[in-house]
C-alpha cells in the first residue's frame, strides 16, 4: 500500500486516497481530509456521522452504506447529501479514514 504525508504524518492509503489503517486516523487528520474534498468546516452534524462510521466499522469490519447510516445511524439520507455533497458514501468514508465503501457488487 502506498503512503502519503499529511500534516507531518505518514499514513497508508489506497490508490484513490482512502486510508487503509484504522488506527492512523485522528480528528486533526479528519479536518485535513475534509478540506481536501472541499469541506472547509466539520460541524457537529459532520462529527456525529463520522463517529457513527468509525464505531460501526470497529464493530462490523466494513464501511457502512448510506442506507445503514440513515437506518441505524439515524441521519436521513437527504442530510447526508447536504453534509457530504454529491457523493456522500465515498466522501464520509474518506474523511472518517475508512476503506472505500464496497456497497455495490
Amino acid at each position: 500500500m502506498p503512503t502519503t504525508a499529511i500534516a507531518d504524518k505518514e499514513i497508508h492509503v489506497d490508490a484513490e486516497g482512502f486510508m487503509t489503517e484504522y488506527d492512523e486516523w485522528d480528528e486533526d487528520l479528519a479536518r485535513i481530509l475534509a478540506s481536501n474534498i472541499g469541506i472547509d468546516e466539520l460541524t457537529e452534524a459532520h462529527w456525529s456521522v463520522l463517529n457513527f462510521l468509525r464505531a460501526d466499522y470497529a464493530e462490523r469490519g466494513e464501511t457502512p452504506t448510506l442506507r445503514r447510516v440513515s437506518a441505524t445511524g439515524g441521519v436521513p439520507t437527504k442530510e447526508l447529501f447536504v453534509l457530504f455533497p454529491k457523493k456522500p458514501a465515498r466522501k464520509m468514508a474518506y474523511v472518517a479514514g475508512l476503506p472505500k465503501p464496497v456497497g455495490c457488487i
Binding site: 445503514r68 437527504k78 455495490c104 457488487i105
Partner: protein, 411 residues
C-alpha cells in the same frame, strides 16, 4: 429423526433440497416451503419485454424439480421464531425444525421509493423482475416509438446486477432493428459513479455505452419518482425526465428475516461468507440471494456455493467442523444485443478480467468480450438450469474460480 426445514423453493432452495436428499439418509426429514407452486426461470424475464421469450418458456411446476423424499409445502412464511426453532405460516400452520435453511431470495420493493408505486405502474413506469411486470413491459415497448427511455437502478445490491445493463443494450438493439433508434433517447441512471461496480469491467462497459449512444447519469441517488410530471428526483435535487421508465426497484429480503432480528438493513440474512451460517443462531443457514454476502446476488453464486455448502452442512449435522470455504465465485452472461453477449467471472477477491472460460486459452466463452458464442451459451443455459442445475446434477465447470486463462495484468 432430525428435521431440516428449507424456506424458499427458488434456485438455491431447490438445489439445496435435492443435494441434501441425495447425501442424507432417511433419519433426516427434509421439508421445503414456498408460497408459489410455479418455479420461474428468472434470468429469462429479461427476454420477455423484447418478445424473445414467452411466459411458457420461463415457468414450470415447482414440484417437478424436487426429488422423492422431500416434503413440499405450499404456504407463505408469516414469521420465524429462531429461539423457539419454529416457523409460522400465514395460514396458521406451524413448523418446528432442528436445522433451518433460509432461501427466500430478494425482491423488488416498490414501497421503499416514494412515488414509485402509483397508478402509472405498468403504464409509463415498469420493471422486469416478475413475469407479470415483464409482460406489461413487453406491451409498453410495442407502443413506444419515440421519446426518452430511462433505465433507473435505484440502489445496490440487486439480484442480477448486470440485468439493467443488459436491458439498456437490448433496448438499443431493439430500437435499432426497428429503424427508430434515432427517435429514442436511452438514459441509464445509477447511484454508482460508473456503469458497473468493478473497475476493469466498468471501463469496457462504459465504452460500450458510448459506442451505442446510451447516456450515463452517474451518482444519481433516487429520492422519489414524480409519476405525474414523469420525473426522477435525486436526494441532491437533480431531475431526470422520462417518457418511459424502466426501474430496478430497491431489492429487499423477506420481512420475516428482519422481524426475527437476523438480517441487515435490507432484510438479507447475516451469515459467514465462507459457510453461510448465521452468527446469531448456529442452526440457521442462508443461501442464495437471501444471504447478505459480499458478492453478486445471482443464481450462479447459489450454484457454485452448493459444492462447499453441501459437504459443510453434512459435517455440521455430524457435529464436525466445516472445512470448506466458499470463495464468492460468480459468473454472469451479459446480453449486449444483436445475438451477442459477454461473460464475466469473478469472486470475493478478484474482479472480472478478460480471458477465456471455462478452459484457459481455449474457451469457448470469451470473458469481458462480446461474442455470438457467449450469447448461445446464455440461451443454452436455460436447458442446463432446468435439467441439470435444479435437480442437483453436476455441471461440467469448476465451482471454484480459476485465475488460469485470465489477463491478470489489468487487475
Amino acid at each position: 429423526m432430525q428435521r431440516i426445514l428449507i424456506l424458499g423453493a427458488g434456485t438455491a432452495g431447490t438445489m439445496a433440497a435435492n443435494h441434501l436428499r441425495k447425501e442424507l439418509g432417511s433419519e433426516y426429514e427434509i421439508t421445503i416451503v414456498d408460497q408459489d407452486e410455479t418455479h420461474y426461470y428468472q434470468p429469462g424475464f429479461l427476454f420477455i419485454p423484447f418478445g424473445t421469450y414467452q411466459p411458457s418458456d420461463v415457468m414450470k411446476p415447482t414440484a417437478d424439480f424436487l426429488r422423492k423424499g422431500i416434503s413440499h409445502v405450499n404456504g407463505e412464511v408469516a414469521s420465524l421464531e429462531p429461539a423457539a426453532n419454529r416457523v409460522l405460516l400465514t395460514d396458521g400452520r406451524t413448523f418446528g425444525y432442528d436445522h433451518l435453511i433460509i432461501a427466500t431470495g430478494t425482491h423488488p420493493t416498490l414501497g421503499e421509493t416514494p412515488g414509485l408505486d402509483s397508478d402509472e405502474y405498468g403504464k409509463t413506469v415498469h420493471d422486469f423482475f416478475s413475469l407479470e411486470s415483464a409482460v406489461a413491459l413487453q406491451e409498453a415497448l410495442k407502443e413506444f416509438k419515440e421519446g426518452r427511455l430511462v433505465v433507473s437502478l435505484i440502489e445496490m445490491p440487486i439480484k442480477c446486477p448486470v440485468a439493467p445493463l443488459e436491458f439498456a443494450f437490448l433496448a438499443d438493439a431493439h430500437f435499432t432493428d426497428l429503424g427508430i433508434r434515432d427517435k429514442v433517447e436511452i438514459v441509464y441512471v445509477t447511484p454508482m459513479s460508473s456503469v458497473f461496480t468493478k473497475p476493469v469491467a466498468s471501463e469496457q462497459l462504459g465504452d460500450m455505452f458510448e459506442q451505442r449512444g446510451i447516456h450515463l447519469e452517474p451518482d444519481f441517488y433516487l429520492e422519489r419518482v414524480d409519476a405525474e410530471a414523469k420525473m426522477l428526483v435525486s436526494y441532491d435535487e437533480r431531475e431526470v425526465p422520462y417518457d418511459l421508465l424502466v426501474t430496478v426497484p430497491i431489492n429487499m429480503g423477506a420481512s420475516f428475516v428482519g422481524a426475527a432480528g437476523i438480517g441487515d438493513e435490507l432484510n438479507h440474512v447475516r451469515v459467514d461468507p465462507g459457510n453461510f451460517q448465521s452468527p446469531d443462531y448456529p442452526n440457521i443457514f442462508a443461501l442464495g440471494d437471501a444471504a447478505s454476502l459480499p458478492t453478486s446476488k445471482a443464481g450462479s453464486v447459489a450454484h457454485f456455493a452448493m459444492d462447499t455448502f453441501v459437504p459443510n452442512f453434512v459435517d455440521y449435522l455430524l457435529g464436525l467442523p466445516m472445512k470448506h470455504e466458499f470463495d464468492g465465485h460468480a459468473n454472469c452472461y451479459i446480453e449486449t444485443g444483436h445475438d451477442k453477449a459477454m461473460l464475466i467471472d469473478f469472486n470475493y477477491k478478484t474482479q472480472p478480467l478478460p480471458g477465456k472460460y471455462p478452459v484457459p486459452g481455449i474457451g469457448p466463452f470469451s470473458l469481458l468480450e462480446e461474442s455470438k458464442v457467449n450469447h448461445r451459451g446464455k440461451l443454452a443455459f436455460r436447458w442446463m438450469y432446468w435439467n441439470l442445475l435444479l435437480p442437483g446434477r453436476h455441471l461440467p465447470v469448476s465451482s471454484e474460480m480459476s485465475m488460469a486463462g485470465k489477463d491478470t495484468d489489468l487487475a
